[in-house]
């Protein structure tokens, strides 16, 4: 929000005086355009090509299969959701801690950062069978999900901690703050917006990691269900599981975005905090 002026704060007002539900609807409509077009094209392809249902089911068949198998889907979805949430929490804590350690000193940056990058060059899918050999199923999936999601958190955290505006540090140090104080009270809060950008990406990757783990190492979870249902030519159910996975990824992304909104009130467009400090 621009705030140029000579004395009065700029207040955020609803453009055109729109009411909240109408504004939300106006924002939601463009989001829905692409999936609606994709479903329409999908249905047209079914009408034109008339493939067998086990090759490509129609959107209606997918919806019907999803509804019929809702209890089975929910059973597997809970497992995937549980692993994704736990993995995301571990990713957030471990990623932020690693970013802090890497950014804090030149020595730790040289010692750790290159290996974090190397860890991402290795195709993590290829690691899955090894992890299953070494760890119990749940732990193996968890590790895989964390490995697949932690990279953006570390990179965003390191960039955020290292990219604090010089004048903010100078302002604190110039008023007598120690280097440690400036790290805790200036660099860390200044890095939070970027860290949350990494966390939003991680929220999506963590679901992919959980699914890869379930495909290889589990009989539970939506990843396992896609493997089982595809093997039994229950293609509409496979599609329904994939749709549910997308919704879980979207939901986790939304939860992180909401947490960001609550944790970083100063990045909002409104001019005042919700509560008086």
């Amino acid at each position: 929000m621009s705030t140029a002026g000579h004395g009065q704060p700029v207040s955020a007002t609803a453009p055109g005086g729109s009411t909240m539900p109408r504004r939300r609807l106006r924002r939601l409509l463009p989001v829905l355009i692409l999936p609606l077009l994709a479903i329409a094209a999908w249905q047209v392809a079914i009408w034109v090509a008339a493939p067998r249902e086990w090759m490509l089911p129609s959107p209606a068949a997918v919806a019907e299969a999803g509804w019929d198998a809702r209890e089975r889907l929910w059973f597997h979805a809970q497992w995937t959701l549980l692993i994704s949430v736990i993995a995301l929490l571990i990713t957030a804590a471990a990623g932020a801690a690693l970013a802090y350690v890497i950014a804090r000193s030149r020595m730790s940056r040289l010692a750790i950062y290159p290996w974090v990058i190397v860890s991402q060059v290795i195709p993590l899918v290829a690691l899955a069978p090894l992890l299953v050999l070494w760890l119990p199923s749940f732990a193996a999936i968890l590790v895989l999900a964390v490995l697949m999601s932690i990279f953006p958190v570390i990179v965003a955290g390191v960039d955020g901690l290292g990219g604090t505006h010089r004048d903010l540090i100078r302002a604190a140090r110039g008023l007598g703050a120690s280097d440690g104080w400036a790290w805790r009270h200036v660099r860390v809060p200044a890095a939070l917006p970027r860290l949350f950008t990494g966390l939003r990406m991680a929220a999506v990757f963590v679901v992919s990691g959980a699914v890869v783990g379930e495909l290889v190492a589990s009989d539970r979870g939506l990843g396992a269900l896609t493997r089982l249902s595809a093997g039994q030519f229950e293609t509409p159910l496979t599609f329904a599981a994939v749709v549910l996975l997308a919704l879980i990824g979207l939901g986790l992304f939304g939860v992180v975005a909401l947490a960001e909104r609550l944790a970083l009130p100063w990045t909002r467009r409104s001019t005042r905090p919700r509560s008086r400090s």
């Binding site: 705030t3 000579h6 004395g7 704060p9 302002a171 005042r272």
Partner: protein, 246 residues
């Protein structure tokens, strides 16, 4: 008298003798080439010089944020630095930003909050204590930064182009605010600016810095009773001699 509740120690001399500093490793670039200057207690000295000549680096050295390769500084450790622009913490409300100065000076959180409220009233920011910096105008943010510097309770202030980001009208208003504050608190001020008119209007003396590596090449009286236009002419002549003005 200082604003109620704000206690600032009496001014202290700042004495800089033969300060040299080179930055970078490959090869080191000389930035400060033997700077000598003295700011008597309770007076305002401005440094004017070409961009990139090392003025901000000199303030960093005086504030203890960078160690000189050679030379001595007396009065360092008793200074509060106000960097370019306002440098308010975007995640803190106006009140919390101002209170930071007192907290870093050792005040308890409650005491710092109380002092911040007093400074808010003193600097005409009443009603905006709970706003975040992004929601305030440039002039208001600058007043808050001044309040934060005031609450640091240091006898000497280092002001690094404090009004460089403001438009001319707001800057003139801020000059009045700063002048009033300095008249009350009587700090020792070392002001770095690229604005000759600002230097002459606010300072008792204007020092002209030559191009990098920085050294003081002229010392011009701009105190009460001197003609501002003549002082500005003298500054421009010195800058021209140094090759800093076309």
């Amino acid at each position: 008298m200082p604003a109620k509740g704000v206690q600032v120690p009496n001014g202290t001399d700042i004495r800089i003798e033969g300060v040299r500093l080179a930055l970078g490793d490959d090869p080191p670039v000389p930035v400060l080439g033997g700077v000598d200057l003295q700011v008597p207690a309770g007076t305002v000295t401005a440094i004017v010089g070409p961009s990139g000549c090392g003025k901000s680096t000199l303030l960093d050295v005086v504030a203890g944020l960078a160690a000189p390769d050679a030379g001595t500084i007396t009065g360092a450790g008793s200074v509060a630095l106000m960097p370019q622009r306002d440098a308010l913490m975007p995640w803190l409300t106006l009140r919390a930003n101002i209170a930071l100065g007192a907290e870093l000076a050792g005040a308890s959180r409650d005491d710092a909050g109380r002092r911040a409220e007093e400074a808010i009233a003193r600097l005409g920011l009443t009603g905006f204590a709970d706003h975040y910096p992004h929601a305030l105008s440039g002039g208001m943010r600058q007043r808050a930064a001044l309040a934060r510097t005031l609450l640091a309770a240091r006898p000497a202030w280092l002001l690094d182009e404090p009004f460089g980001a403001l438009d001319a009208l707001t800057r003139t208003g801020m000059h009045d605010v700063l002048r009033d504050l300095m008249a009350e608190v009587r700090p020792t001020v070392l002001l770095v600016t690229h604005d000759i008119a600002e230097a002459v209007a606010l300072a008792d003396r204007v020092l002209v810095a030559g191009p990098r590596p920085m050294a003081i090449i002229a010392d011009i009286d701009a105190g009460p009773g001197t003609d501002d236009a003549q002082a500005a002419d003298a500054v421009m002549t010195a800058l021209r001699t140094a090759g800093a003005l076309a």
